[in-house]
């Protein structure tokens, strides 16, 4: 067994994904209701979690990191240890931090979601397994 102990790491998403996150955010002040929005304002963590779930459950391939800045998702209130409980082994295998693993899955998941929606597919197809 390896002696590698994964660190917590940071939670971040690519610029593209971050932009996408903004498009699925519903701002009541704008008064637009005829476009599907998935989250309320300040729910980036929830979006991140959804992205991770999609990526992890569908075992999507990680997207190579783009050049440029990555957008950090504020880890405040993020239950990193709970995730560690079932990601620790994979993190060891991939020699990644837990945050890094989470971010990779989230990036892939959210990107997939964007593609899925852009393609005009049903959102719930992604949720149903």
């Amino acid at each position: 067994m390896s002696d590698y102990i994964p660190k917590d790491g940071t939670l971040d998403v690519s610029e593209t994904v971050h932009d996408f996150m903004n498009t699925i955010e519903h701002n009541p002040k704008k008064g637009v209701y005829d476009q599907l929005k998935l989250f309320g304002v300040n729910q980036k963590i929830e979006m991140f979690k959804l992205g991770f779930s999609i990526g992890y459950v569908h075992q999507l391939e990680f997207i190579p990191k783009e050049k440029g800045e990555r957008n950090t998702v504020a880890p405040r209130g993020f239950p990193m240890e709970n995730y560690r409980k079932f990601l620790n082994e994979e993190a060891i295998e991939r020699k990644m931090s837990i945050g890094g693993l989470l971010s990779a899955y989230a990036d892939a998941g959210l990107c997939h979601l964007q593609q899925h929606l852009d393609a005009g597919n049903d959102l719930m197809e992604l949720i149903e397994v």
Partner: protein, 714 residues
């Protein structure tokens, strides 16, 4: 006034008809009836009272200085014929029975003839069986019944009876009354001074004034009530006017709205086709507006439900792991329970081995097969140790780590039904969104037919029309309510408004009341003034009479009356006389009575029964000298033989009477005919003489009174 004739028929001791002729050319006022007791003096006195007033009372009595009036004397009474007025023989023998008195007088009023009769066709036992009749003739005019009584009262007022019918036996009672000033004498004196007639006038005026006061009070109350009613009516009228104004305004507003509505309808008619599209567009707009609201809600619901989407999805992946871990955890739990149980059993076996003895504690006998027993327990213990070791060796996972992992995974477990809820809210949002898109498409299509501005204008027009309609309905409702209010206020106003009152009438009542009040004050002043003056005159006149009648005029200054007509004799020293004799007091009373007559101007004869009772000779003589004068009213005395005799009056040169009569029974005469007074009579039988001149029989035991006029010239 002078009495001219008196005719008595069957009254008292006078059987048959007896005529007394008082007419005379002589101016002297004195008339006298002389008789012994029982001969009929008082009967004549009472007969005149009965003729004038229709009733005769028994003599008054003085009880505790109060005069108690006597009871009425009956004309007939079978139970008390000693006191009845009708002649006993007439009552006993005559059929029909009759008693009558004819009283004829002359005066300023002319000739007065009064005839009162009591009669019965059979024998009357009581007065109720009699028929009474009164006929009065005044200057040839006849009066009957009540009218006749009223004519008599004009000349002989009954309230003044005491001042022309004087009963010597009652003078003492009079005196007592005058000395103590009782109400009775005060009333009498007021009567003779005619004060009651004046005060009656005041009472009448006061009664009228009270009527006016009541009317004024009622008027004032009514006025107050009317004022309140007027206030209320005024308020109601104000409200009514306000309502009417509101009605007018509302009617005008309705008219204006109707015109406006007509105008709108005309305009709408002109764009009828466009209006169909406009209406449809309006409807779609409205639906879109409503749907957007629904969409907003459904999106928010969906977003709320979608926050669990990550966990829902993740749990699909984690759930098998979680279940496996949970199963492992359960297995570990069971193993722990089994280990605990085995360790407990092993401990018990060990304790049994440790505590075992080969001798029984109770019976102290050696235990059979002890060794075998211990050996079996040891085997049992070894097997338990083997099982414990086996269990403790199984299982690699740390239970604590296992539980921590389970707890961590549980945080990703979504609530039951979360997915279904999410699916439902998602589908609903999509359906609503689709509907919205369709409506928007419809809206776009409609916009091709009717421009936004036109639709807006048409809608505005329609809205204005609708608003006008609503305003019309509202105003019509208001108008209906106002008309109802108007009716209500009108009814209330009509009820509340006081009826027209004649304010002039109440003013007249005020004036009349004030006038009457002035009359009352004036009359009261006059009465008081008259009363004071009359009292003063009575006092002056009474003093004059008293000094003339007194047998010692030098000793007295006269009589004084206070305001309550209490009389006192005053000495010449100016002090009241204490302990005056009864005779002196009788003279005082007579003086006052005469003074009252003089002051009041009462011109009626004086009938004085037993006048000299309790008077000494000087007083008797003085009285006759005073009353029997030419310048006085008739003064009739009814004297018994103890008071005056004809001889005494003539011989002692007393005032000479005009006419006088002697009343006698036959036994008072010796050998004299009572019919023609002839002395030429002869005895014909026991107690009977026959007159040789008139040939009538005179029964000397008869108690019928005969009247003989005294001839002054004889």
């Amino acid at each position: 006034m002078r009495l001219t004739y008196l005719v008595l028929s069957d009254i008292g001791p006078f059987r048959g008809r007896h005529i007394f002729d008082f007419s005379s050319k002589d101016a002297r006022s004195g008339y006298a009836f002389f008789a012994k007791n029982g001969r009929g003096k008082t009967t004549i006195y009472n007969a005149m009272k009965w003729a004038l007033f229709g009733k005769v009372r028994r003599k008054s009595k003085l009880v505790d200085e109060q005069v108690v009036e006597g009871s009425l004397r009956p004309v007939v009474d079978e139970d008390d014929y000693d006191h009845m007025m009708m002649n006993y023989d007439a009552w006993k023998d005559d059929v029909p029975q009759s008693m009558s008195v004819l009283f004829i007088a002359e005066g300023e009023f002319g000739k007065l003839q009064v005839e009162r009769t009591a009669s019965c066709n059979s024998m009357a036992r009581k007065d109720k069986h009699l028929q009474f009749s009164l006929t009065v003739s005044l200057n040839g005019t006849s009066y009957q019944g009540q009218a006749a009584e009223e004519e008599i009262a004009k000349v002989f007022p009954i309230e003044l009876e005491r001042f022309f019918f004087i009963d010597g036996e009652e003078v003492e009672a009079y005196t007592t009354m005058m000395k103590s000033s009782t109400q009775g004498i005060i009333d009498d004196i007021k009567s003779i001074l005619r004060l009651p007639s004046l005060t009656r006038g005041i009472e009448d005026l006061r009664a009228i004034k009270r009527t006016y006061d009541d009317a004024i009070e009622a008027g004032a109350k009514k006025q107050l009530l009317d004022t309140k009613k007027e206030d209320k009516a005024r308020t109601l009228n104000g409200q009514l006017n306000m309502v009417r104004k509101q009605i007018q305004e509302t009617e005008e507003e309705i008219q204006r709205l109707q015109q406006r509505q007509s105008s709108f309808q005309e305009q709408i008619k002109g764009v009828a086709e466009l209006k169909t599209y406009a209406d449809e567009k309006l409807k779609v707009d409205s639906q879109i507006e409503m749907l957007q609201n629904t969409l907003k809600t459904s999106l928010e619901t969906f977003i709320g439900d979608f926050s669990n989407a990550g966990n829902i999805l993740l749990w699909n992946k984690l759930e098998p792991t979680y279940n496996a871990l949970a199963e492992e955890n359960d297995g570990q739990q069971n193993k722990r329970f089994a280990l605990d149980r085995l360790k407990k059993d092993r401990k018990k076996v060990q304790e049994t081995i440790d505590e075992f003895r080969s001798v029984c504690d109770k019976c102290h006998q050696p235990v059979l097969k002890a060794e075998l027993f211990l050996k079996e327990r040891q085997v049992e213990k070894d097997e338990l140790d083997k099982e414990i070791k086996s269990l403790e060796g199984s299982g690699k996972t740390n239970p604590q780590q296992l539980r921590a992992k389970l707890t961590a995974l549980e945080t990703f477990q979504p609530n039951h039904g979360s997915y279904e809820r999410l699916k439902r809210s998602y589908d609903f949002y999509l359906s609503q969104n689709k509907l919205l898109l369709n409506l928007k498409e419809k809206q776009r299509n409609l916009s091709d037919h009717v421009s936004e501005d036109s639709a807006k204008d048409i809608n505005e027009l329609a809205q204005k029309s609708a608003r006008t309609d609503q305003a019309l309905i509202k105003n019509e409702n208001t108008l209906r309510d106002l008309r109802f209010k108007e009716d209500e206020f009108e009814t209330k106003y009509k009820t509340a408004r006081p009826k027209d009152s004649d304010s002039d009438a109440i003013d007249i009542v005020y004036d009349l009341r004030d006038t009457i009040q002035r009359f009352i004050v004036a009359i009261e002043g006059t009465v008081k003034s008259y009363s004071d003056k009359a009292t003063e005159e009575v006092q002056k006149e009474a003093s004059k009479v008293f000094l003339q009648l007194s047998n010692a005029p030098a000793a007295f200054s006269g009589i004084r009356l206070n305001k309550q007509f209490k009389a006192s004799i005053y000495g010449s020293n100016g002090r009241p006389v204490v302990g005056a004799s009864s005779g002196m007091e009788v003279i005082m009373t007579l003086s006052i009575i005469d003074a009252l007559r003089t002051v009041s101007g009462l011109d009626a004869p004086v009938f004085f029964d037993t006048p000299a009772r309790s008077l000494d000779k000087d007083h008797k003589n003085g009285m006759l000298n005073y009353f029997w004068r030419d310048d006085r009213s008739q003064f009739l005395i009814f004297a018994h033989s103890g008071e005056f005799t004809v001889d005494e009056i003539i011989n002692e040169d007393l005032a000479v009477f005009n006419k006088a009569w002697e009343l006698m029974w036959p036994e008072d005469l010796e050998m004299t005919c009572i019919h023609c007074w002839s002395k030429d009579v002869e005895h014909v039988s026991k107690h009977k003489n026959r007159c040789n001149e008139c040939e009538n029989i005179t029964n000397s035991h008869s108690r019928q009174t005969a009247v003989k006029e005294v001839n002054l010239h004889e």
